[in-house]
């Protein structure tokens, strides 16, 4: 089995959010970045489990600048066999997907894994784009994946329930909670990661379809109104008359 796992870098949720250059750019000063949790905890780990049971390799791919090598090394430390970094700024979903698809076409990967979304922009777009470019089925929000020879059985989340799908042949899936359990890299993994291959490839030049025009901070909450715990009729009145939600 040759598996490809797409990994992205996002600010840690606890980071303070601010902007610069007239609110056109995210201010990354002093922000700590992490591997997107869905990519790390679920997509990568499930891919590793499959190759541990059935043999094969796990390649991780990131579209991004050299500063992203830190998350790539972490993925290698957790157990990925090798890595590809497409050397460019990830500007929009289309740029990222085009570059992933170009690399994926060079090898026949059995399964391409992504996270269900990045936790900063919550796009949930890259997976469907990659699948369309490769003309493969895409299953979003996978919570369970079993692979037997070429047959993948996947459970995915849908509104108010779940769906079980089967695909015979290569596919693209995006990983949600439940697909695997987070793994913490150990000392041996970290040492071994230093010598694993990380291939840096030039990016394909594609026109950006969507530009960021600016960031806006949401209006601040006006402050909490405290209600006497003995007077729940008052809370109900406020929810009805003031907030108009019931």
């Amino acid at each position: 089995m040759n598996l490809l796992v797409c990994i992205s870098k996002t600010p840690d949720t606890t980071s303070k959010i601010s902007f610069k250059s007239d609110d056109m750019e995210y201010n990354s000063d002093g922000v700590s970045f992490i591997m997107n949790p869905y990519d790390e905890w679920y997509a990568l780990v499930r891919a590793l489990e499959i190759t541990e049971q059935q043999g094969g390799t796990v390649t991780v791919i990131n579209v991004g600048p050299a500063t992203n090598d830190i998350i790539i090394r972490k993925a290698l430390a957790i157990g990925a066999h090798d890595a590809i970094r497409v050397d460019t700024e990830a500007t929009d979903a289309f740029t990222v997907a085009s570059n992933i698809a170009t690399q994926a076409k060079l090898k026949n990967y059995d399964i391409i894994f992504l996270g269900k979304e990045t936790i900063d922009f919550n796009g949930s777009e890259v997976g469907a784009m990659v699948a369309e470019m490769l003309d493969l089925p895409f299953i979003s929000y996978a919570t369970k994946l079993d692979v037997a020879a070429s047959l993948s059985t996947v459970t995915r989340d849908i509104e108010g329930g779940e769906e079980i799908c089967e695909v015979d042949g290569p596919l693209v899936i995006s990983a949600a909670k439940g697909l695997a359990e987070q793994r913490i890299p150990n000392m041996k993994g970290i040492m071994m990661a230093k010598n694993k291959p990380l291939e840096v490839v030039p990016a394909q030049n594609v026109p950006q379809r969507v530009l960021t025009s600016k960031f806006i901070l949401p209006p601040a909450k006006s402050g909490v109104k405290l209600i006497d715990p003995e007077n729940m009729d008052e809370l109900v009145r406020l929810l009805h008359e003031e907030a108009k939600v019931i």
Binding site: T13, I17, P37, D92, A93, F94, I119, D120, F121, N122, G123, S124, E125, A128, M129, V130, A131, E132, P137, F138, S140, R156, D157, I158, E159, G160, G161, E163, I164, C165, V167, D168, G169, L171, G178, R209, V210, L211, T212, S213, K214, F215, I216, L217, P218, K221, V224, K225, L226, I227, P229, E230, D233, L235, V236, R237, L239, A243, V245, I246
Partner: protein, 319 residues
């Protein structure tokens, strides 16, 4: 040109989010001076209802088949209708199925796309689309550069608005190429509104002490007609089912009302809920961080406050 709106109709029924995107498409079409056309796939007797929301034409594809969703098949159908109707904008819901379609349609139509839009486009300077990012801590405004645009709309971002038209429903049959994906089973719980679509949500956390105490939360939810949710440690400890877990790593929701009892309000929890319109926090610790994100707060013991709130709701409903 036109604006094409894809309307989901699981088991033949158009959900509230369907009427939301119909309204979104109709309003956008009005600002662009064009028509809003709705597209519905598979059996449904509700196609003509869309004319109540400003849709001027409904295209009903394969109306004798059931709705076996497959993103490859559906995106083929939507893209071919979009081309035929000369659609410049394609609108859909940012739902579980929508997430499989948006990216595919963008590629098929050479379109720029924005997923999870939170408001109508701003057409004053190019084609601006906003969405909430960074766990609700900011809003980003994108400008779509391409001639054709694909936008998926976050649930509860716009309210369905009545605007009666005389739409005709056109029956069309489209055969899509067969795909490798087979849906073996679909399990949905009947009756309760799924969390991503719920307008009222009652949620509880570790302050509940144990799963045996959830009766008071369920009673409150029942009185309100709300859906129940929980914090992550509660789902991790199997006190509650995993699909109830909201937050950064769980479901992201934006109901009109979110009531949180015994939840501290950690940033990862807030990430999934702070787009709620109104937040009520019940916590015995006045220093709990959740109060900073709340509109209404009750400092008290949830085991006393929650049943009192349920009684007050019942009294209000019966009055």
């Amino acid at each position: 040109m036109s604006v094409l709106v894809y309307i989901e109709s699981p088991k033949g029924h158009i959900k509230k989010t369907g009427y939301e995107v119909a309204t979104y498409g109709a309003k956008l079409a009005a600002s662009l001076g064009t028509d809003a056309i709705a597209l519905i796939i598979g059996y449904s007797s509700e196609a003509s209802d869309l004319s109540k929301y400003g849709i001027t034409k409904v295209i009903h594809v394969n109306s004798t088949q059931d709705d076996a969703f497959d993103a490859q098949t559906y995106s083929h159908i939507i893209a071919s209708v979009a081309k035929e109707q000369n659609a410049k904008v394609v609108i859909l819901s940012h739902s579980a199925n929508g997430k499989g379609l948006t990216g595919r349609l963008a590629i098929k139509l050479d379109a720029g796309s924005v997923s999870g839009a939170n408001a109508l486009p701003d057409l004053t300077n190019g084609f601006g689309v906003t969405k909430s990012v960074y766990s609700g801590k900011a809003i980003v405004k994108y400008n779509i550069q391409t001639e054709i645009k694909v936008i998926s709309v976050m649930g509860n971002s716009i309210q369905p608005e009545l605007n009666e038209t005389t739409a005709n429903v056109q029956q069309v049959s489209i055969t899509a190429p067969t795909t490798k994906l087979k849906v073996v089973e679909r399990k949905t719980s009947e009756g309760i509104v799924p969390l991503p679509e719920a307008e009222l949500v009652v949620s509880a956390g570790r302050g509940m002490k144990g799963p045996e105490n959830w009766g008071i939360i369920e009673a409150l939810a029942k009185s309100l007609g709300a859906t129940t949710a929980c914090s992550r440690p509660v789902a991790d400890a199997d006190w509650r089912p995993h699909h109830e877990h909201v937050g950064q790593t769980g479901v992201a929701i934006r109901p009109n009302l979110y009531i949180a009892a015994g939840i501290s309000g950690a940033i990862q929890h807030l990430a999934g809920v702070n787009n709620s319109k109104v937040i009520v926090v019940i916590n015995k610790d006045p220093e709990a961080p959740f109060f900073k994100a709340a509109d209404y707060g009750v400092v008290g013991d949830l085991f006393e406050v929650v049943p009192k709130l349920t009684a007050a709701i019942d009294k209000f409903k019966n009055s």
